[in-house]
Symmetry: D3
Subunit: 154 residues, 6 copies
């Protein structure tokens, strides 16, 4: 559907937002469901605490996926949770131009994801997995590894 | 609008999702509002905790209803809460084929709601109200009554 | 333990706060558990959304009870939920002097609970159940019934 | 786009609902972001607690704005938060007829916002800022100032 | 301090509950912190959404640990988060008698954790990790694996 | 009670944690209450969303204060909210050694709060109010001002 390179700034009009209310699925299963949904290509999966009828603390599952993934995603939700229905609606996603570069820090190399507008970098996020590995390797706080990246960014 | 039997698998494209932010309605009233909205035919009514301006812990009321119920639902919200406005958007609902059957357990008969795909049962939920009544009648934990259903399902 | 009349201002030093984290009890059961705990004499029972390990949205049950009720309350939690443990600690409760009086409104009589300090009324809460019944009887919004009380209070 | 006076009852079909998930923006920045978004003309801005992947407690920013404000709002979100994308969809807003009037109370004059249907007042909300100022000026509880308004409303 | 076997019913009076409010630690770091705290021997670690001053959506970290682990736990919190202080208080933990046994199901062997009172099993929880592995191995829904256990329990 | 300088590392054993459940106080009032409690010397005030009986979404107010402030704090809660009772328990607070210093950045001077252990700085937090003012003065994103501090810290 889209012909632009996915890392350029673009507006994607073919996404679907899905939501499901769950009051009889144990929380224990929901971590598993989240992993399966990401593996199936959901772009975003998250839970919100909700209050349902009959004094039930419950959970709303929400996710974002492309139209082409929707059928597979739907099957996972129907198989893995206790719901008998799924709600959805079209949603538009604007995405900034993205680029990665590698920064040398005192702890090792760390990939930084950059967001650009008009080809100017306006934000930089160190990759969590890189930082986590270096924090474990050097046995230093995670926040010191992040700080080592921030010092290198200018 | 729909000619299919409501318990067959179908996709309903005439539903509306309604949402209202409430920062000056006491929580005490909101249980009452939920009951009234269900009585008026809302399919789902639930609350989410939200954070509003000026440090106000507040509540978002969300509900799902068919287009034909919308006007009545709107009136209830305007009458019973303190909001001056209501937001809404169309939402599509996929519903599995549903069927009920009655299971005999050691505690008595319990209705089980089944969800089917391709005419295969892929999920079974004991009816909460049946289980609750039997738990109270036999003075046993609710979870033992549910367990008695699961043992019978194969 | 206490010799003062329970509706006089007093500080109760024999209360216990109980908390339990639940990540594999379905929300559907938790409304039932709350009712049982109130019936057994818990003074306050409430749920908080929490985030547990392995990406599990979960629920914390908290309640307040007197030391004399604790054993019975503990049994209900162990029987009705999936937890294998219960945490608790002593907590002190200050309670205002309380009094009720009945107010005549255009919809009927409504009990008002009053809180006093130095024998002065400093707060007045209409009883929810009274207001609810009158709202249903007269088919008016609940908030109009509350408003009818506030007009009478001076 | 609209020709009706904004305070008359109307249905506005040119609004946009925006949502952004934030798992690496410190909470400290989010109060600031909320203020900026209101200043730029967002009609409603609020946060919801969410559970994201990798056990991250996170926050969803949601807001409502007119189509004409959308570009400016988008720029603020991209500049002030850490997100690389923004999701949005059209939403319809029904707004009651609104009117204000000033009430004389024992503490001073207070503006009351009224909501009307069929030209009948069906709700009245004292302006928070007025009540707050009078509570501070007279050094009385905020709830006494609200109560002074309710007594005057009939 | 304790001489009883840890899997027998007992009341542990040497536990500490720790809590920390975090409004400037990104959510991204908090999954990492949770892992480190469990590795250091915390018995329970969880997050609660809270509302702090200046409109900040924030997070409360809570955990339970034995007195002997407290110093190590404290060091992790001070190193890995942005807080300058830690609050704590003693808490008592009642723990049921626990036992595990292995159940043969159609998908393979699954460990079940049992909770006992007066040497009677009153609850049985299939081990999540066992169920997850079998669900992945057989490519069936996780809930089917749990159901296979429940059928075997009587 | 304490003779040590308050900014040195110390453990304060004379603090009180207070909690109140609120299901009939409008959210609108709660921002005001938070401000009053901070002014009266509470060290920390925050709200948590809770689920109370009768399907009521509600709010728990929690705060931390020294024993010497408790009576004044209690009066504010009783006057400003709708509760008739207050729960509390002693809590211990460990506080790191604290120090501030001023950093010169490209946007101006910014105070940084430092936390020390064994006289080593292990964390540094730019003061939010300083950063906010400079962001407004220079009309740049708040996060750029924070970044300017991080670059100067080594």
């Amino acid at each position: 559907m889209r012909s632009h390179p996915p890392d350029q700034e673009h507006t994607d009009e073919h996404m679907i937002k899905v939501e499901v209310n769950l009051d009889d699925t144990p929380g224990e299963w929901l971590g598993f469901v989240m992993d399966k949904l990401f593996e199936a290509g959901a772009n975003d999966v998250y839970y919100t605490p909700i209050y349902m009828k009959k004094n039930r603390p419950a959970v709303q599952l929400q996710l974002l996926c492309s139209q082409t993934k929707f059928e597979e995603i739907k099957q996972i939700i129907l198989s893995e949770t206790t719901t008998l229905g799924i709600r959805y609606y079209p949603i538009t996603v604007f995405r900034m131009e993205r680029r990665t570069r590698v920064i040398e820090t005192e702890y090792g190399n760390i990939t930084v994801k950059e967001g650009l507008q008009d080809h100017q970098v306006i934000k930089s996020s160190p990759e969590y997995e890189d930082c986590k590995q270096l924090a474990e390797k050097h046995n230093v706080p995670l926040k010191d590894v992040y700080a080592s990246v921030w010092r290198e960014l200018k």
